[in-house]
Subunit: 119 residues, 2 copies
């Protein structure tokens, strides 16, 4: 992930409705949510949501697939992972000792066991 991609991703997440959409999709898991359900969840008009979904998709944070009349959106976990790694990679430049605590905190969140991180 280069700076341009990271910039688009951060800008996409720096908007209330879009951040809520991403969180909802991340929580929903790989099955994702239909656009209509998502609209109700984040309380945004359908046409407006469509605008935000396009932006999130363009930023590589979500993906979509059609299922009958519905369009199902789901989180692009790879994109989110890349974004986290982009932040951490920068953090490691020059003075790696300063971000070691962050890595330690993340390691404490053992995702394979389903434990959640309480920061």
């Amino acid at each position: 992930m280069d700076e341009r991609q990271a910039l688009a991703a951060f800008a996409a997440l720096g908007q209330e409705h879009r951040l809520r959409v991403v969180r909802a999709l991340v929580t929903a898991g790989p099955d994702g949510l239909a656009a209509g359900v998502l609209a109700e969840t984040v309380k945004v008009a359908g046409n407006n949501l469509s605008f935000h979904l396009k932006e999130l998709s363009h930023a590589g944070l979500i993906t979509s697939r059609r299922e009958g009349k519905s369009v199902i959106y789901s989180a692009a976990y790879g994109g989110l992972s890349d974004l986290v790694q982009f932040l951490m990679r920068d953090c490691c430049q020059g003075h790696p000792e300063v971000c070691a605590p962050a890595v330690a905190a993340l390691a404490a969140c053992d995702c394979t066991t389903g434990d959640t991180l309480h920061a």
Copy 2:
């Protein structure tokens, strides 16, 4: 870190000049950089940079201290760490298995040895 703080942080990072400032400060380490040096580094006019620095500071991503005539800015590693943890915590909700690869990738970046992460 709650949603409001994360929103402010993402919005702050979703701007070209501000993202460059943060990266420069993160790379510079705890010693930080003077406002004037930062202005040259990111090629932004001083008064304009001051505006962005205030926003980054308000988002909890950087800190400042005065040293003589200069004001030295440095990265708020805690704030950045919180942001990463905010993303990962959400990722762990509901379907933890999907973000396990991200955690594994971060664990491979052993910051205590100075290794950088090549994503």
